[in-house]
């Protein structure tokens, strides 16, 4: 462990870092591999200093790390904190997914009973 934050504090930092759409886009870009700040700034209509600010937030949350190579500083994504955050959300998602799957079944049942409800006068039975 490189920092002494509790799991819960780490999670807070992760969610805070992920709450910004630009930062999420940066992470998505880094998911494809290591990128320099200059290349990161390209798709955004933002100055490099503005991008650097976002990178600092992501670094503090432990979501990315910097690597120095000969010419430039590259950034790469760190999987663990992201995995923790998605794991929490996934628990919540599973809980609700179960309920919504039940709703799917109910909807099919209701649609069926609508179709089969006699619109013309019909004798009961097959």
């Amino acid at each position: 462990m490189n920092h002494a934050l509790s799991k819960s504090d780490r999670l807070d930092a992760t969610f805070a870092a992920l709450s910004d759409p630009t930062r999420r886009a940066i992470l998505a870009r880094l998911a494809d591999g290591e990128v320099s700040v200059m290349d990161l700034a390209k798709p955004f209509s933002m100055s490099q200093p503005a991008i650097s600010k976002h990178l600092k937030v992501l670094e503090r949350a432990g979501l990315i790390s910097g690597i120095k190579n000969a010419q430039k500083r590259l950034r790469k994504i760190e999987a663990k904190p992201l995995a923790e955050a998605t794991e929490w959300l996934e628990n919540y998602r599973k809980f609700w997914e179960g309920r919504f799957n039940q709703l799917d079944s109910l909807i099919e049942e209701l649609k069926l009973s609508k179709q089969t409800s006699p619109k013309r006068k019909n004798k009961k039975g097959e």
Binding site: F15, N91, K94, R99, D104, I107, K111
Partner: protein, 169 residues
């Protein structure tokens, strides 16, 4: 069994959760499933081993709704409810939510929108918690659909909360 939509859940900002999903029906029917007690009872009872014993809905602005779930194994109950703030059927529903045993601090404001496209309905549920702690408590609570151990964990959680209510009054 194949299910229609994949549920997406995202944390947004500091205090929100956003759920999105599609259903294979027109929005009138889906809206009914969210607002008519006899229909709500038939899907919102889960996970397995639970039933939605009490479900009352007074569908008007300022009207209240109340749900009480029962854990069949030991008869313990969990109640929740709130007030409707806006009803634009079948497009939009805004309601408050709080649990009897406040397992997250404060109350939440739920905004559900129903959008129909080519006979399918896309719902978005935006849950705005009063505090960041409220939102995070919900995300971090041990709930999973389907696994027996999670019911035990939920039970433990509920027991803990009954012994020492943590929510603000």
């Amino acid at each position: 069994m194949s299910f229609v939509g994949t549920l997406k859940v995202e944390a947004k900002g500091d205090r929100e959760l956003v759920m999105t999903r599609e259903f294979n029906a027109e929005k009138d029917l889906v809206f009914d499933c969210f607002t008519k007690p006899e229909l709500i009872k038939r899907w919102l009872y889960g996970p397995d081993g639970w039933s939605l014993d009490v479900c009352t809905v007074d569908l008007k602005v300022g009207g209240k709704y109340r749900y009480v779930w029962k854990y069949l194994k030991d008869g313990s109950t969990m109640g929740a409810g709130g007030t409707y703030k806006e009803i634009s059927g079948p497009d939009r529903l805004v309601q408050t939510e709080s649990f009897d045993e406040a397992w997250y601090p404060g109350e939440a404001l739920l905004t559900t929108t129903f959008v129909e496209k080519s006979g399918r309905t896309y719902i978005t549920i935006n849950i705005l918690y009063e505090t960041k702690e409220g939102r995070d408590t919900v995300i971090k609570s041990p709930m999973e659909g389907g696994a027996a151990q999670s019911y035990n964990r939920l039970e433990t959680l509920l027991n803990t909360l009954t012994e020492s209510p943590q929510g603000r009054k």
